[in-house]
Point group: C5
Chain length 381, copies 5
């Protein structure tokens, strides 16, 4: 159950607002448990690039304006002072900075004058489903990304920047923003593939032998899909806005690429909705299978009971006191040497036969195990 | 059950219209049980502020026009005369005043000439879920708020006004309106967090051992979520209107802040819809768990019945009248000194064993308690 | 069941079209069972008013044009000739007149040149839920209302006209149309409050002891809500059209009032949808309660059966033929003086105990009553 | 079951496309089983009219252009040559002609230059629910209608043309198109009334004594409503397009009439959706009634079983071997002259009593009939 | 189950993305298992046509520009080099080429300067439901189609090109694009007809004797319909865009034809949605039939049990120890010569009777077969 517990914990922690309701807007109330910010600079133009870890935000002033594109990547949101310094250097709006720190924003695109502020969500599947808010500020020659913690799915983008003569090296900051959004969006696919496989496994289990744990698993999966869906739907709107509207620093050429990214996002939503429908169908399949099993159980009970009740009555009626004197056919077993053991044997045979029958059907043994949580197939992968 | 009873009472009282159908529009029919109005004035500019309790509405004329912003806060709607005086001083439209008094309006933004009329709903979670209508009138240099009763969530806003050099002190009445709407909107979050926790607790209970009270609780929660939702959806439309349309006395700068507030409102709706879906899923989980338990009960019945029916028949068949003379194996127990107590002992053992088995499964004891309401986990918090 | 039967009859009668499919449009085919028209005139200006019953429609020519506003109220649609005369006097379009007579129109606003034609539905809750179509024709200085039968909810409006210095006396015919629409719309509230109370009563019944009649009542209520909803939704569209579009003889001031009326209509729809959802939730609650009861019944059966089956087998096994000679412990009861009565007494005790147990649970007595319809709580109010 | 079988057959036959996928568009592939076309001409102006059966399409050239309006009514689509001749005379677009022949089009309005092409669906309820595609071509002074087979609901329209001084005689071809669309639309009402009555009958049956056939009937009705709905929804769009857009040969006056027709169509959809919801509610009602019956059955089983099991055990315990010598109270029945017949009589009484009880409840007799289809109430009307 | 396994395999393989998330956009990462491209050229004008297999893409330069229309059909996507050569010759955008290779795109229409890029999906029903992405590039005088593998439904189009004086020979490349889209769209009809027939067969099976395999089959069908639906909905949007927007190289005349194709697509969606609703209805029908069977089973159990329990008790009560001396009526059977065989015979008769009864009802025999998958009716067609 630890997968689920950790996912829950993750969700709960992110839901909690840092600022009190009614606090002044734009106030940076930092989560004390958040990791300390680590700043990494990647500045490049078509000819060369530099990559540097920045200790003091003020250093950034040496680079911005001198390179074609500066990518300032901040991992960790644990120090209000550092964040405020960066905001001051790049003229980032306080309302946007508040959204950077309160990591539970819906994906969106807001423009504050010459700065475009983009919020997106990156999903990672380590031992539990966890999401991380990535906030982007796009300026004329810089891109600033704020992430909740170190570790991301943007290494392929960095790799492409390091190589010469790639499109990203020749393009502007808007294209870099696209490249990051595209990497984040495409990262949903492997997660959804994982769900697709789990759904198929579940379907096979339900058809083979549905146990109680199936319901809990469908329920968990529905919840997680709901969680992913809540992240993806606004992403689609945000991308659509980037494609349709005139957003500062997004060129027409980049818009063509964003349209491609938007298509991917729509496909993700398609898949998500399909999986949600499949979840519901599996629940129906499970319920009908439960009903079927009930029918089966009742049939066994009815068949055996109704066969034995009348004949037990007949046996009771005559008390089986037939007069052995009237005929040698009248209950000779009673006089047999092994009459009683024979009767006991018959009883043992009937009981063992039925117990074996029930064990084979999984009614005994499995049945009592049902109450304990089965080893969830979800724990290991 | 008192939580629910009080919530119901609250809803019913608010639903009841004061004015008869067909009454002239704009007539102020006051609820006689409503609290008497208490007027509090907060007037400020960038340099100083005053805070005063107003006994006679006519006093207000001394302040309005002399300060940068006047915030007139009226708590309690129990005196038509006082309300009409205020309406006369500030030129408030009778139709809007009628909506102030009939506290069951949907959140909305209406403009009456130079006055902007905003209705919103503030939720409080004391011992039961209660909502309060807050009506705002926005003029060029004043803001009037009408609340149903004393006590609100606006103290942080007042605190910010009392401090110097806060943004609210420097901004206009439109910004004050935003600050109040923001405080009201953000106040939904702790309430929703409470629901989130109750849902998690419910889920754990259903998976552990679902009892009958679970259904009633899911039902109550669905109802309350429906109630909150009915309040929030129009709030979103109203905020959207404030962001998009040209509303008098709302500056472009304030509109930027309102956009942020609108985002929060959308997130609240997201959460609400998610919780509603989780409620439905929990109901499904519960129902499938009931079906599973039924299956389990039927399996026990079927297994035990069908094992004992055939052997009881065999025992009945031979009447167990085996001839002890034919063989010493034929029912020697009947001649034992403690034969009868031995048989009685066997019976007692079998009965006690089964009773213990059922008690452990919760079929006996718990089963009969089901009919009484269990100590609801909702009462205490 | 008479409430329901009458409601059904009402619906069926209204559904039946008078004109054959394919008949020429605009033909006035009057329902022969409809009441004869009664014409009442209310003519007024700011200074005075007259109120008169009109026998011959031609009399109307003496008033129209001479008063600020003439309200011609026609109750009953049973005479094609009279209706045609009125249509001729006021130049009403034949298509609109056809809609007046075929009383099953959706609420709507149509303009025919200088005449505005408005259809709305008035609900009354006498002994059954009945609706009545009210058709309004609005001209420059007159308003004509056609109702299906005498008796309506417009008396408060008439009262306001009779008083001097009310707004309605000073305003134009468009304002009168608003006043009537507002009275009709507000009249939905008491009906919905009635449904709210029935729903609460049902919920209490389901939680206390759900009987079969609950389902039928939920079903009836759903149907009636569906019926009301079908009337209200188009009303909302119609009101919206009156607020938004440029409709002849509706002034900007009146539009402000109509916006208020539109808000009420939206609130009614809100309530309706909420009640419909509550209905569905109650059905779920009922079904889960049925399942719970089934579980309970099965548990009793299983517990008692499985306890007695094994011990009955043991008793049968030994035939209880223990040899009393072998020991005084072997079945001394058989030799007791009151052995047989003692056994019979035991049996009676066990039977009576169980019967009492079932009566207390409501399985006996109530159970057989279930098949008859219980005294519906809906009949009396 | 023949009603259903014929309806199915009807649907299947219409679904089958005549042209192969990939065939050139506009190719007239005629269904060989379709009836031969019968052409009927109705030409009229305000003064006179002629009505004529046309054998050779070329004859039509003598009329078109010489009369105010020519209505060419073609019943039967079984001869590609004739259809092509008509298309040539009136310049009908090949794509439209293809749609005429492939009688499974959605209702729609297409304009091909000066020709307006309208598709609608006419429903008839003979012994099964059957629909027929009616295709209209509207030109400046002619209207051509193509129907699948002879027999339609347009006779009232013809009747109105034959009478002088009717509006249709004075109006243009666009008005004739309206008259036909109106007749077709209004023809849905009696069909829907039929469904309304069937639904009420079903509801009564479910509340009285639900049998298995009810489900199949609800299912059939749902399917048929789905089928009607699939025909009506596009009709609404088509009518809306005729009302809103500038369509050639549809005058402003006619548009007013079409708005009325559109209102009727919306009402039909309202009714349809209501009936579909009622169907779902009836299914719920049925299912809850099944659950209730199950509860009832289980209660009877539980009450009787649990009463007799303990006392049977007690009887078994003592083997009823009480010593008659110890007391005259000890089982005197065993010595009665009619002891055995008395016991047999008791048994017979108990059995007959229970059998009667079950017959009265409909568990015996009816129960076994359930498996056969009951005489469907739908066959006869 | 192989049908399903293969369909699953097909879906899974197509879902897997070739390019890693974060890879540079427009990179052609070819699936190594994809078939090698086979290029076929069809060049034509109104007078003549040539048809040629192309080994080296560079050959294409000899044709393009010299013919009225060149149709380059590429079957198989297994060689990045060849695809890139084609892209270079016709100036196809890298982003579009990436979509050609990643065969899981939603149907869409994108314009890249003078090239129109169309994605559609072709369904084939061989032994399992398989879809194939068809990508079209439309230029001024050429059309390039990329298919996943050889074999398609476009032969009728080729046939029409080979014939002289067909419309396609005289029209431009846009019309050819339409012809292909139309063939692909119309190819959905036979597939849907197949589903319609399967649904009817299922309905008959459920009404006759529902077995467990029915649920699995409904579930499979729902899934496949979901799969087809996911392909068709975007197709509709794409076609709508082609009809409404100004797309390069699509003439007004062709737009008329595309409107027809769009209508077909809407009809396909209509059918799909209908089938999906029928699927849900069938599931309900099945579940209610399961409940009915449960009721029936319980009735049999209850009737037989409750009849025999009381009489068995009576038999047990008297132990049937009636004194034969008191009367000759007292249990004479016990003294009969064949008393015991008679009793055994009675028992055998009762047992065999019940077993036959259950076999006839399908509770024995069929019942145990339920657990194995029945020979699916879907395998063979």
């Amino acid at each position: 159950m630890s997968h689920k517990a950790r996912h829950r914990d993750h969700v709960r922690r992110r839901l909690k607002r840092r600022a009190e309701p009614g606090a002044a807007p734009g106030s940076l109330t930092v989560d004390p448990q958040a990791p300390q910010p680590v700043i990494r600079l990647l500045a490049y133009n078509a000819e060369k690039f530099i990559e540097r870890d920045i200790a003091d935000p003020q250093e950034l002033r040496n680079f911005v304006g001198h390179w074609h594109v500066c990518w300032v990547d901040v991992d960790g949101l644990g120090d209000a002072h550092i964040l405020e310094q960066i905001a001051a250097i790049f003229h980032l709006h306080p309302l946007a900075m508040e959204d950077v720190v309160n990591v539970h924003q819906r994906a969106k695109v807001d423009t504050f004058g010459e700065r475009t502020f983009i919020v997106t969500h990156m999903f990672g599947l380590t031992d539990h489903l966890a999401s991380e808010q990535v906030s982007l500020f796009l300026g004329p020659d810089f891109l600033i990304t704020f992430q909740e913690r170190p570790g991301d799915c943007l290494d392929p983008v960095r790799e492409r920047i390091r190589k010469q003569e790639t499109r990203v090296r020749e393009a502007d900051a808007g294209y870099l923003a696209y490249a990051i959004l595209d990497a984040v969006t495409d990262h949903y696919f492997p997660i959804l593939e994982g769900y697709g496989e789990r759904l198929e496994a579940l379907e096979d289990r339900i058809i083979a032998l549905p146990d109680r744990a199936v319901v809990a698993e469908i329920h968990d999966m529905k919840r997680e899909l709901l969680y992913v869906r809540r992240a993806v739907w606004p992403q689609r709107e945000a991308l659509n806005m980037l494609v349709r509207d005139e957003i500062p620093h997004i060129s027409a050429e980049t818009r063509l690429y964003l349209r491609d990214c938007y298509d991917h996002c729509v496909r993700i939503i398609d898949l998500l909705e399909t999986y949600r429908e499949v979840c519901s169908d599996l629940m129906d399949l499970y319920l009908s299978s439960i009903s079927n099993r009930m029918n089966e159980i009742m049939k066994v009970l009815t068949v055996i009971s109704t066969i034995f009740l009348p004949i037990t009555f007949i046996a009771g009626l005559y008390g089986m006191n037939f007069d052995p004197g009237a005929s040698p056919l009248n209950m000779p077993e009673l006089k047999w040497r092994y009459g009683y053991p024979f009767a006991l044997g018959l009883m043992a045979l009937s009981s063992i036969g039925l117990v074996l029958f029930y064990v084979r059907r999984g009614w005994i043994g499995k049945g009592s195990d049902d109450r304990r949580a089965p080893p969830s197939s979800r724990e290991s992968p």
